[in-house]
């Protein structure tokens, strides 16, 4: 059994959270409240020392020192604008002037919109279409059963193409899913069901892994029963 007070605290907090599995109780609620408070505080401290202090405070301090020493106004003064926008964001806490937080919010939304418009199109649309179509020809055996084909085709790539295309047809709700569109969408649904089944399998693996990690901490690090 561990003699480290930190391990004991971690183990007791772990068991406190697990107690919810039996039923809701004050011990769980206390542990949950500690988690919420410590999480918020962790982000609060990390952001100050790793972002606000080096990027905002040190830049502005350098700009002020340069000005005081007669070096004039340098480009670091521009960081004052970001500081002002940051404080405007915090004004959301004051209902009467909360509307001013729309300015920094608009700034972030504009940045994200500008970045996403190009990158999502390039990486998640065009490159995906490219990687679906290009492997179709040029690789593969050039044979189908007993026949020799005049071109090479990759059967795996062909199935991926069929699955991607039919899946997209399924999501295209502007056309009614009847006749040819309906049959195509039905094939798409089958591919999507396998996709969701695979996602379910991986999700189970993920959740179980987290539990294994916790149990290993309890029986290994805390109780010392496993080495």
């Amino acid at each position: 059994m561990s003699t480290d007070i930190g391990v004991w605290i971690g183990a007791l907090l772990t068991l406190g959270i697990f107690s919810f599995l039996y039923r809701d109780n004050p011990v769980y609620k206390v542990c949950e409240a500690i988690f919420i408070g410590v999480s918020a505080g962790y982000w609060f401290v990390s952001l100050f020392w790793q972002n606000i202090q080096p990027k905002l405070y040190l830049n502005l301090r350098g700009a002020i020192e340069t000005l005081v020493q007669g070096g004039g106004i340098d480009a670091r003064w521009l960081y004052l604008i970001s500081g002002v926008l940051g404080v405007m964001m915090l004004m959301r806490l004051v209902p009467k002037v909360g509307w001013i937080s729309r300015w920094p919010l608009a700034f972030i939304v504009g940045t994200t919109a500008g970045l996403y418009m190009i990158t999502y199109l390039q990486s998640n649309a065009i490159n995906q279409v490219h990687d679906t179509l290009v492997p179709l020809v040029g690789r593969g055996s050039g044979r189908f059963l007993f026949f020799t084909l005049p071109f090479h085709v990759s059967w795996a790539a062909l199935l991926v193409f069929i699955g991607t295309f039919t899946g997209l047809v399924y999501f295209f709700f502007s056309v009614e899913h009847t006749k040819l569109a309906g049959k195509t969408a039905r094939i798409g649904i089958l591919f999507l069901m396998v996709t969701f089944g695979a996602s379910f399998g991986y999700t189970v693996m993920s959740r179980m892994s987290l539990l294994i990690g916790r149990m290993d901490f309890l029986v290994g690090n805390w109780l010392g029963l496993v080495h």
């Binding site: 949950e32 988690f35 960081y79 915090l90 940045t111 899946g167």
Partner: protein, 218 residues
């Protein structure tokens, strides 16, 4: 004023970031660099806003003696404990160094709590699957079968169970096939659909057609 300037800001910043993608030279590269730094600082303040709002709501709960107010007091106490330790007793910028009080709190309080919260999901996924996962029709059966094959194929016991089959035809190989063909196809279809949706929403935001990020009137 309250809505026009933010809309103008969204458009201006959005256009700069789109243009600099195609013209990565001065002055757009300099503008992009400066605006990126500003975004990082504003994003930090945005997260600070969340933490401070939590404190405000908890303080109100304690002041008004709302239901479960003692837990709100614990939230405030925990927040103050780690904040005070992190700001004043952990060596400033060296706050994350091994052996500091902040590092101790991270390893022995935050780490176990965070890990355990997510570990609880394992129990709920098992319970929910037992109660709700039903092979009611062909699609659901296909989903279930795919899930079973992937779950068995991705652990060593899968190959032990299918060890009588020749190499290359066992459960792990079947799981590989499922992940590389139908899974890849389905994920790609979803990904392309989402990407096109994001592109259209981004364009609407930049052109000022979409105003939901500005909230209600006033």
């Amino acid at each position: 004023m309250k809505r026009r300037i933010p809309l103008l800001l969204t458009t201006l910043v959005g256009v700069i970031f789109v243009v600099q993608f195609f013209v990565p030279h001065k002055p757009f590269s300099d503008m992009q660099g400066l605006l990126s730094d500003w975004v990082q600082i504003i994003a930090a303040f945005a997260i600070w806003l969340g933490a401070l709002n939590l404190m405000r709501v908890s303080a109100e709960n304690v002041q008004r003696r709302e239901r479960n107010w003692p837990y709100a007091a614990i939230i405030i106490a925990s927040f103050l404990a780690i904040s005070v330790v992190g700001f004043f007793f952990s060596g400033g910028t060296h706050f994350q160094d091994p052996g500091t009080p902040f590092d101790w709190m991270y390893q022995n309080v935050y780490n176990p709590l965070s890990a355990t919260m997510f570990a609880m999901l394992a129990f709920y996924v098992a319970s929910a699957s037992y109660r709700a996962f039903r092979a009611r029709n062909r699609e659901a059966t296909l989903l279930l079968l795919a899930g079973f094959l992937v779950m068995l194929g991705r652990v060593p016991v899968g190959d032990k169970l299918s060890g009588f089959l020749p190499e290359g035809y066992r459960l792990s190989n079947l799981a590989d096939l499922i992940m590389n063909i139908p899974n890849k196809a389905g994920q790609r279809a979803i990904m392309i659909g989402i990407a096109l949706g994001i592109v259209s929403t981004s364009l609407r935001l930049i052109l000022g057609i979409e105003k939901s990020h500005l909230g209600g009137e006033g």
